[in-house]
Symmetry: D2
């Protein structure tokens, strides 16, 4: 089982970057949920490349075609399969890479695993393009969740050494919408300008740069999730590491907590309008794997795009000797900003799965 996740809601992603089509099959969606296709397409647009010098010039139409599961714009209870045809491919750009694996890309491990059989044109099934189907699933999940008062939003928390302002203790749906509407998804536009300058500089240097995405979900009930391996953190992490380039996942303060004392890290419980809340949220809304009712917050580390235009050292697999590689083709100098909606998408999908599964604490 590789390109699937979920318990009640099973999401299966298929396709190669330069194959006939990419797509997603979603098994377990509830019936009777209207899906606003305009809103969905607007969500998909957020991860699209080709919009600015900050990303690859590759154009993608990315308009999904629904083969099943959606009738007259409403989910019908059966598996929903959506596909996006591939086009605007420059497969010739990739011929050299079959022999000379790109450093820090899956070229080499794919070769070891599948021999020469893996279709790695354009990165194959490892391509960032495969995040488009994930966004179809996540865009649908976000609409279903929003109808229940649950909202998922994200922003680019860092690019290289430049940091955005963090989310406030209680981010709102309005804040999520405002960030989503920006051409560059940050809380603080000044920080955003500095981040963009860093990306453009990296591009000019034939280099790339990494980033961090902060994501939050509000409106979740307390009591979701299970102890130990069925926890909300486990399930989110298991899915989030499926986004290409994610190398770290943390909840609440995460690695920051490791540097603190208990007296600094503990979130005091307090009453607010007759409800138990915490005065701070360093736990990221999760204690013992189970939601507290506070916002669920997480951060993912996105490594810098491995495909850079500088000459790099690699090996020739045919000659089994060291070789130099100059990667051609169009590549993103940074993918972290484009990955913001993808992190939202995966988070929303996992949370919908948890909600559909229900809280089995009592019966």
């Amino acid at each position: 089982m590789s390109s699937e996740f979920g318990n009640i809601l099973r999401v299966s992603v298929f396709g190669q970057s330069h194959g006939k089509a990419i797509g997603v099959n979603i098994d377990g969606l509830p019936a009777g949920e209207p899906i606003d296709l305009e809103e969905l397409n607007a969500f998909l647009d957020r991860r699209k490349p080709g919009k600015s010098p900050l990303s690859t010039a590759r154009k993608e139409s990315d308009t999904p075609v629904f083969l099943s599961g959606l009738e007259n714009g409403v989910t019908c209870g059966f598996p929903l399969c959506a596909v996006i045809e591939n086009s605007d491919q420059h497969s010739s750009d990739y011929s050299e890479l079959a022999d000379k694996p790109r450093p820090s890309h899956a070229d080499y491990t794919a070769r070891v695993k599948w021999g020469g059989h893996a279709d790695m044109r354009g990165g194959g099934h490892f391509s960032g393009r495969l995040t488009a189907p994930l966004c179809i699933a996540g865009g649908i999940a976000k609409q279903i969740l929003a109808r229940r008062g649950i909202f998922v939003g994200a922003h680019l928390a860092a690019v290289g050494t430049e940091n955005d302002a963090p989310f406030p203790l209680h981010p709102t749906a309005e804040l999520f919408d405002a960030i989503a509407a920006k051409p560059f998804p940050v809380v603080d536009d000044g920080a955003g300008d500095r981040m963009q300058a860093l990306i453009l500089e990296a591009r000019q240097d034939l280099d790339s740069v990494g980033g961090i995405i902060e994501c939050a979900a509000i409106g979740l009930p307390a009591g979701l999730g299970d102890p130990m391996f069925g926890g909300v953190e486990n399930r989110l992490a298991a899915a989030l590491f499926g986004i290409p380039a994610v190398k770290g996942v943390e909840f609440g303060l995460g690695f920051g907590s490791a540097r603190l004392h208990g007296s600094e890290n503990n979130d005091p419980f307090t009453m607010e309008n007759g409800t138990v809340v915490t005065a701070s949220n360093r736990a990221g809304g999760i204690l013992g794997g189970i939601t507290t009712g506070m916002p669920v917050t997480l951060r993912t580390a996105i490594k810098p795009t491995p495909s850079i235009s500088r000459p790099q050292q690699t090996v020739s697999l045919s000659a089994m000797e060291n070789a130099e590689l100059v990667i051609r083709g169009r590549h993103d100098p940074c993918i972290a900003h484009r990955a913001v909606p993808v992190v939202e998408a995966v988070t929303a999908t996992v949370l919908l799965d948890l909600l559909l599964e229900g809280n089995h604490g009592t019966f």
Copy 2:
């Protein structure tokens, strides 16, 4: 499904801190594997409390009894169930907490999920004590892996603001053994002294402190793991977040990668003794979810123990009003050092599962 993980090798953990017994059932172990019980008990000893002022004074005998699956010290192919009886419990210490949930502990979420029914004495099923069964599973996995030249080791990379030296590019089994033999599991003993001082200071301040654990696995073949959601990172993270207090997981440089340029983060491929290796290992031995053959390296963030002796603000669930809480009983001022073998255990168990599952790239 909550207290279980694994695909081919299924590990189920059961028990409450103050119940009759805790234990683990392991389904899918190969037959014919001799288990050295002395070695296993030595491994279990590494996580035991009561050995120094750095941890709780609670004594645990923690000697596992094997109910099934192990005959004459050799695995017999059937599910292996091992139990540890509970003793030395001070349940009265916990009576107040049913009403006043400890900040940043699972008391509150357990109450929301299971009403008053959850047996939360001593932390119930959320207790760090439940990591003992995990270590039984992991200690067995480590022996089976070692026989195939695969070794898993860990050290305490940080306590609060104090850092240990990192693992070298190629950690060795000897290094793992040397660290495991130390009373305080660090690479650099000077750093270890500073960390211990920090822990003792926290204890004196009626406080606690967090830490970071670095873990590495050497000897793994290239080609293990699957793309997207079946990746080595996904599967390790899904299990590692099941260790109590883990709030972040990263592979290779992890969040550090997000701060770098591609030219700084990429690992050049190079030939070494006729084999393809990478000159650096910022990827943590995993590209596209699949092992490269380099050491798999990961770090987990351990939050500071939430049970501190200082007065803390919480709520009374019976009165539904704010309240003050003073936690009594014996608690660890830091659990990160005791969690080192637990991280090894979970890592080893997931890797054995991956190895048993095999590499399905070609048939």
Copy 3:
């Protein structure tokens, strides 16, 4: 994954017939469910051997000890582990079988799979004794279901060529109780007498005989289950074939339907007290994998005990030549009557899992 089943409710069975103990771990039970241990033990008694010449003389105390998950007789939300210690074992009876596999028993396949490592004394993990832990899980599930008006009952529908009367269209909880209270679990005691005579005759002939068990569940809501592979039939069959000696499973008329015309097999819908019901129930309460609200009915085929005392032809695995085998030890001339509560147990457990999972049709 081998000795486990279930989605939300995960049941893991462990132990060997002549090992230290057998048991079951149940992950996912709801909290707050009182378990009547007297009622549970009465249920376990129904499958116990040693009560009459109809079964083996082996005595089993079979009193479960609860290691976790049950506090003061009430489920506490955490995994429930229950064990039964083994005793009254005659392991020496089995020494010859390691070399000469019993025809139609798992001796040979165990040898192929695990080499000589499998602990096959007394049948090892394949022993009918492992159905005792299944009955612990099922007995608990039956109590939880009964509290919601859902009842599961079974009877011995056939022994060899002798048939019991079938369940009526609407079996009642009273009928289930009445059958459970009988020393021989049939609807028609006259038929039961003929069946028992057949079993005793088989015993006298140093032979054994097979049988069929009919099971029904009443009180289930309509709408449970999913299309295709998530259907109620799929999930029940997947678990029922885990009972040793089951070689066939059918729902409603099952193989009988294959012999009929549509006009004879279709169940007409009709209104009854304002509810849609079917006038007959040849479908066994399941259409398209989903419950109709009518009783779920199924039948399982139990093969004759392979361990018979007559001389049989087999092979010597050490000599790799044909050999004669005379099985010694105590064996049941028929296990079908003892398997009646086991089929109830597995059915009840799967149905509770389905109920806990909920009906995800709409949200």
Copy 4:
């Protein structure tokens, strides 16, 4: 999880009978496997309707389009998604059924589960048409298995009261091919003629008739499968009940075993060319859930098509009162003969999954 099955090889089926397309996504196929599309299409042709008065006149082109996973006719290691566009639909035929559920069809249970939202035109996702994607998966699996000397074949063992001759003890690939090449898939053509007469008679009587399919797999190694719930029987049954209209599954003699004595049912082991075999195969090649190396044999009961043209009693869901229904449209008087390749397909897919998973007995 509903329309999926498999462990290592995950098969997800999607689509509705009158939606845009139907299809299958197969995750986990090994790379480097050439797929002969002509052979695959010939296999798909075996289940197609419209070829004779024995089945519905609906024409289906059923030519699969491969969106991913297959490049230049060779599997590339990534998920393989194949779709078949729908055409020749008469959706108006089904308008009445939304209110008046057809007896013994999923119309009613779908209505209960998904309210009015399920797209049940043409039977929706429950339609026999959804077996075409299953045959794509199975046709691919059959080619991969055949390359390893493993062959799966089936025949129509019964239509109503008419029986075909059973498979011999050792069916051959040649026999499978010969049956597959026949217009009516039986061993004994005389029996086939009688079966066909029965089907035509049923059609003339505005009725339908059920049947039984026997399937066998040869060339499997001994030692595949796991005890209890991971057995070959469990896994095959769990998938086979996903074929619409299957109401029973049995292995070897199945329900026939229940009527026998042990001395009649046991399969004596014997040496043959230095190998351990059984002289008979009443166990269907499976003991303790694990393959013996003998042919795996199974039978599935197919109920008569519920859609018959005679007036039938049902209810009006809008009026909540009894009503008469006359089903219009084109329906098969028997689907058992068309289901023969479907049973082969599902069996082959499950067996390939088991083979890919490997035998974890020893390591």
